[in-house]
Amino acid sequence: MVSTVSTGSTTGSENRFVYAPALESRSVVDIRSSYGLFIDGAFVDTEGGRSFKTINPATEEVLAEVAEATADDVDRAVRAARRAYTRVWSRMPGRERAKYLFRIARILQERSRELAVLESIDNGKPIREARDVDVPQAAAHFFYYAGWADKLEYAGLSTAEGGPPKPLGVAGQVIPWNFPLLMLSWKIAPALACGNTVVLKPAETTPLTALLFAEICQQADLPAGVVNIVTGAGETGRAVVAHDDVDKVAFTGSTEVGRLIARTVAGTDKKVTLELGGKAANIVFDDAPVDQAIEGIVNGIFFNQGHVCCAGSRLLVQESVAEEVLDRLKRRMSTLRVGDPLDKNTDVGAINSAEQLAKIRELSDIGEQEGAGRWSPACELPAHGYWFPPTVFTGVTQAHRIAREEIFGPVLSVLTFRTPAEAVEKANNSPYGLSAGVWTDKGSRILWMANHLRAGVVWANTFNKFDPASPFGGYKESGYGREGGRHGLKAYLR
């Protein structure tokens, strides 16, 4: 067993490396002062005339005014999507649809630098993550589903009558702010590949990459109306979901809104997929490779400021190694660099909004009040913008709210267990079931755990891995339906 050097809340802060700033240039992006809606292939004004501001959460600087789509605007968008579906897209051979998607994939690759910087500015996420995860994954997603467009008959699906699968029609899609471009890709790529047209609403705090994506659709000469982007907040989203001529609703976001959507579509013929919240258990056994496990725990909860639905927000450690794991985890947390998202050294960026910051603060305060031990490394937070230090709670019990509710921030709750059966029991003791992590050297145990965990994705000796070929989605109140892979096609075919 490796002995730990020292422990305590200030460990690491004295011998912290000093980094020279390595700022990514903003000059590659050109943010307009205002944006309209993207309907029927063109940017148009909203009929309501209202707009909202999108800001840089790292500085609170206003980036642009963005149109707020009304129910009438959504109706225009749905009508454009229907026209494009009937007249163009559903009639086009899969082979030709594929080429448009390949084009989009290529343009995403060509303009990757611009997209990464814009995503970082509008979302607050570290440029390193936008550059290395969000944008390449988005392009890969289009590339993957482009290939399916003319191969749908090989996917093992069929209509209820037994014939080859058919598109659904117009898809209404509502996406969150944590991975704006990537979630857009998860929604639009399979929908288009299967022959549907879409009306997509990006999150109100992160509309800019979706609007840049609209330009990319123009650059790719995508037929008008195939992709429509309506910006706005909850009301706009409601209008998309409730529209009578929408055949399919796809939503990624909170479980609370997911429930509302499920109620809204009740009694209709609309197909629905929901990718909702999570409270993933990251389970570390005593034989786990500890160094990798520590990296996995850190990646699991601090990646993207913990704004990840499948974040490993509950650490379950086997009792015999709990102390060692915790010491090492704290030491590692002390080396995390929190700050300017555009600095290439930054590990943890800004919290996406004031509202989200308030929620993280509130739940963390409740954690303390309920008796859990709170710890954060010493770290200087910038004066402006929304920031929250990486935080770990120890002595957490299953009854604590921080062990039950999704915090959606860089906050980890640590619990312990003795046997595999107890680990499973605790991991599954959640209304959520999106993902789980297992750390052990024993292959048979990984598979035993995987069989018993009620979660849609199980990562073994790794965490937060995504690939266009790999299905993703939850059990229980984490939603239904799968995105990604061959299974992801089912959500857009009948």
Partner: protein
Amino acid sequence: MTPPTDSRVDVRKTYKLYIGGAFPRSESGRSYVVNDSKGRFFANASYASRKDARDAVQAARKAFGGWSTRTPYNRGQVLYRVAEVLEGRRTQFVDEVQRSEGLAKRQAEAAVDMSVDRLVWYAGWADKIAQVVGGTNPVAAPYFNFSVPEPTGVVAVLAPQRSSLFGLVSVVAPVVLTGNTCVVTASADRPVPAITLAEVLATSDVPAGVVNILTGSLADTAPWLASHMDVNALDLTGAAGDADHARQLEEAAAENLKRVLRAPAAEPDWTKEPGLERMTAFLETKTVWHPIGI
């Protein structure tokens, strides 16, 4: 320098073999006259020998380790790149296919366009074929059991004799897409588009040795490829209609139990959607067992 006039003498290209990413002449020093469809001189092409065939196999084997362990996503990207670069040379290919096959311009254009589309079609399969032909097997014991397709190795491909580009692309793409490497004998009488395709491959991120192209007579190369002990599989499409020759090659292939895709009675209609057969013919299935338990 004065601008060119009507009396300018054009610079003609030497057509050579494509082996290990380079364009060598045949080691035998031989070449042969390729005429166009109207019987007029088109080019001198290299006449590959037994030694050239063996060199090509060696190059293909050397490339196999790296190519087969690339991610399927990456192989898909590379194949898509081939399609992009081929599209960029559309005019040249239309001209060469037209002269080689005696097609009307519109037909030659269609052949080139379909070649691009076929490459794109196969590019999309790279990270999907395993999801369609692989899977988990629910064995009746506490084991996790799954099967994955893996490339067979070095494949010798006798490319079709008639369809000089579209047919060629239709047989090469499914072989290399899944991670195999290959030695291809081009159409003996219509080799020019194949050598131009080699130039496309050489500039499209396809690693050296993944595709090797031989021109010349089948009689001088095919028997050596069929009997070569380091070739794992044989595609006899190019021997279509010559049942005796095809049988002899299949007999030779039996020595090290090469996987053989038999010669059809006549050259296939390449415009039909191919299905999975040309990919699965050159795939092995690997099944993995692992216990499940605490």
